[in-house]
């Protein structure tokens, strides 16, 4: 009798080892069994390693170096200390956060509302609106930024022209510290979040009709059905879109370089624009790599928080 617990423990251990062995064996077996699939994945995997994984690791290595064209030197945490002591980095972080905090919820909510409105339409009009809202996503941000720069132009711009109808003074949209960042935020909010709309429409299509029918029988209004059935069931899509647009928003760059150059003063300086300047204008690649790593960590933290919050009642 006294031997039993030991037997049980050793038996469990043996089972565990067996499971592990089996698992290892089965992974190898799986690869062997599906080798053609892995063969097809291999080119992409190699490209990913070459163009994504290695540069990411290299950026991390570079962030601990003082970059020199010939013979970089190990710099320890010097670059990171510089990042955290830098006033420019703090300003860029503040601007990027404000940009993200306003544009991401606006983008996702507007995509949800627009796609809900489109979803109820007939097939033809649905396709029409879907294309109309998605097409701008195909346009290069460079083109969009050029058009918007014209719309914000002080003398000939559309906005000031319209304000003129109401007798309101022209606004130097991109030229004043007080308005420049908000001008970029407004622009971002008004560009339809095409990918979001398409994804919401696809997800809505997969919600079972029976749920709505049951709700109808219970006397729920359309709005209540939307609030209590559509929105909760779209949560995985919402999570994905929030993550996607947060990452994109933290990396805002093209608009900045095309429209304001980070100015006036530092009013529209953002993290990626600062990293770009540090790397390619100042040639301080070590510091730029450290800034990138810090940005990576910030995005990671935000993603984890969003994941936890939005996943909560799954």
């Amino acid at each position: 009798m006294t031997q039993q617990p030991i037997d049980v423990a050793s038996k469990k251990e043996t089972e565990h080892v067996n499971v592990m062995k089996k698992a290892n064996y089965s992974v190898l077996l799986q690869i062997k069994k599906n080798y053609s699939a892995y063969l097809f994945l291999l080119p992409k995997l190699l490209l990913f390693t070459l163009f994504v994984a290695i540069p990411v690791v290299w950026a991390f290595v570079l962030s601990f170096q003082e970059y020199k064209v010939f013979g970089s030197e190990f710099a320890g945490f010097d670059n990171y200390i510089k990042v955290f002591e830098s006033e420019a980095f703090r300003i860029a972080l503040k601007n990027t956060l404000l940009f993200t905090v306003v544009t991401v919820p606006f983008g996702v909510i507007s995509a949800l509302v627009i796609s809900s409105m489109i979803f109820g339409l007939g097939k033809l009009s649905q396709s029409l609106f879907r294309s109309a809202f998605y097409l701008p996503s195909v346009t290069s941000m460079v083109i969009i930024a050029m058009v918007w720069r014209w719309m914000y132009n002080y003398e000939f711009g559309l906005f000031n022209y319209v304000l003129g109808w109401f007798g309101i003074d022209q606004i130097n949209w991109l030229g004043q510290s007080s308005s420049a960042l908000w001008a970029l935020i407004i622009m971002q909010c008004l560009i339809p979040f095409g990918v979001g709309i398409i994804m919401y429409l696809a997800s809505m299509g997969s919600i079972s009709h029976s749920l709505y029918e049951a709700a109808k029988i219970d006397g729920a209004s359309s709005f209540k059905q939307w609030l209590h059935i559509t929105i909760p069931l779209l949560k995985p899509t919402t999570l994905y879109l929030v993550l996607l647009s947060t990452i994109g928003s933290f990396q805002v760059f093209t608009q900045i370089i095309m429209m304001t150059g980070g100015g006036p003063g530092s009013a529209t300086e953002t993290l990626v624009h600062l990293i770009y300047k540090t790397g390619f204008r100042d040639f301080e690649f070590g510091l730029a790599a450290a800034q990138s790593v810090v940005l990576f960590v910030i995005i990671l933290i935000f993603s984890i928080i969003q994941f936890r919050v939005l996943r909560h009642d799954e």
């Binding site: 064209v69 003063g265 204008r281």
Partner: protein, 442 residues
């Protein structure tokens, strides 16, 4: 002409401070260009077009000529838009995949003093003896000299000048400054008269003056020198743009918009293209006076035909007209081992930098030659505007060649933007710039 580019106000000899310049990188062996067989890569930006609108025809023809005379040598031309040249070179330097030869204004932003110190740029002294150097204007050569070594072949000289739209002067009944020389008060008086409501609708249609403020651009800067003063002291240890005379000059230029109302709201903004269009585009012509680098003279004589005159920057308390200049040229990037290749690349650089070529380029591309003999051929004898601009070369000051200049420049220019916005006074802005710049000068 020989007086052109007399020693400039800032002694570039002071740049020889750093003692850490790497020695000529490939040992002492000087190769032979004749023995080289292989490929040399050269980058260049678009220049003037031929009848097929090919803006690379000049270099393509030179390459063909050189290849025919040197069997076994292949020269590959990579066409790079000027706007991308700086970034592309930056990436190439970072990846050590640079071309053999590229056009670089060494006082600009594509290559820094830091790169020379790190050995990215090859010294060319082995290929240019004293006699060969004697044909270049001293200042042009100085721009490519660091710690006593020559790091490029000066090819062209540019400077900034004031361009006046004579049609608008006539419309407003203003006489342009005689000989292009004027004081700031005369300039301000003209700017006031040139600001007018053309159609009587109560809105100003034409403003007297406009320019922009952006890191890396210096059209406005000669105004800041008008009372004397410069961004850094002579040994580049101290920020000196906060002296009362400079602060006053900055405030004066901003006040053209803020209090005098002779400049449009966009004055001091960052819209370079829009600013030029407002002066040059026939549909607009809403600004009478703007300062531009010499390329704009060519544009106003070609693509945007304008009735204009070239004038000095107005003088202030110092009674001395000042402008800012730059020197363009060819540099050779670090060569690994082949001494013969280095010699061949230098030989080709010489081949495209002869007095004949510089004369040709001056006539067609609107730049001033860096060679004395090319200038003596008088490329602008039929072009009074370019001749007038060339006379201004005696007023040129060069920007300080500090290794951290791009950061210093940004610290100053971003503060200047706030002054022109009316968000800060020039005094406060330059006090803030001083804090940032002093950190960089430590």
């Amino acid at each position: 002409m020989k007086r052109m580019w007399k020693k400039s106000m800032l002694s570039l000899a002071s740049l020889g401070l750093a003692a850490s310049v790497l020695a000529a990188c490939n040992g002492d062996e000087v190769g032979s260009a004749d023995e080289f067989k292989g490929k040399i890569t050269i980058w260049d930006g678009p220049r003037w077009p031929d009848k097929d609108d090919n803006k690379f025809h000049w270099l393509e023809a030179k390459i063909k000529e050189y290849e025919e005379a040197h069997e076994g040598v292949e020269i590959e031309l990579v066409q790079v838009p000027w706007a991308e040249m700086g970034d592309k070179l930056g990436v190439a330097i970072a990846g050590k995949s640079w071309p053999d030869i590229a056009p670089v204004d060494i006082s600009g932003s594509a290559v820094s003093i830091d790169h020379i110190e790190q050995g990215v740029i090859e010294p060319l002294d082995d290929f240019f003896d004293k006699d060969a150097k004697a044909d270049f204007y001293e200042n042009a050569l100085d721009a490519y000299t660091y710690d006593g070594k020559m790091y490029g072949i000066p090819n062209s000289i540019t400077l900034h000048s004031m361009l006046l739209n004579l049609d608008l002067f006539e419309e407003a009944g203003v006489t342009p400054p005689e000989g292009g020389e004027w004081t700031y008060d005369e300039f301000l008086d003209a700017a006031k008269k040139l600001t007018f409501d053309r159609d009587g609708d109560g809105k100003i249609d034409v403003h007297g003056f406009s320019t922009y403020i952006m890191p890396g651009y210096y059209e406005a800067w000669p105004f800041f020198y008008k009372n004397g003063g410069s961004p850094l002291n002579e040994d580049m240890t101290e920020f000196t743009f906060d002296t009362p005379e400079v602060v006053q000059a900055i405030q004066d230029l901003a006040d053209l918009k803020l209090t005098e109302k002779v400049a449009p709201e966009t004055h001091g903004g960052i819209d370079v293209g829009g600013t030029f269009q407002a002066w040059a585009n026939e549909e607009q012509r809403t600004v009478a006076m703007q300062p531009w680098a010499t390329w704009a003279i060519g544009a106003a004589q070609g693509k945007y035909p304008t009735n204009f005159a070239v004038a000095n920057y107005p003088t202030g308390d110092s009674d001395k007209a000042v402008t800012i200049g730059g020197v363009g040229g060819w540099v050779m990037f670090h060569q690994d081992k082949d001494a013969n290749k280095k010699a061949a690349a230098a030989d080709f650089m010489k081949f495209i930098s002869t007095d004949k070529e510089q004369y040709h380029m001056a006539q067609n591309y609107g730049i001033f030659p860096a060679r004395i003999s090319a200038a003596e051929m008088d490329p602008f004898k039929d072009n009074p505007e370019m001749t007038r601009a060339m006379e201004m070369s005696e007023q040129v000051v060069m920007l300080p060649r500090h290794p951290e200049w791009r950061k210093i420049d940004e610290a100053i220019q971003t503060q200047l933007q706030l002054v022109f916005n009316g968000e800060k006074t020039a005094k406060d802005a330059m006090a803030d710039a001083k804090k940032a710049v002093d950190e960089l000068l430590k």
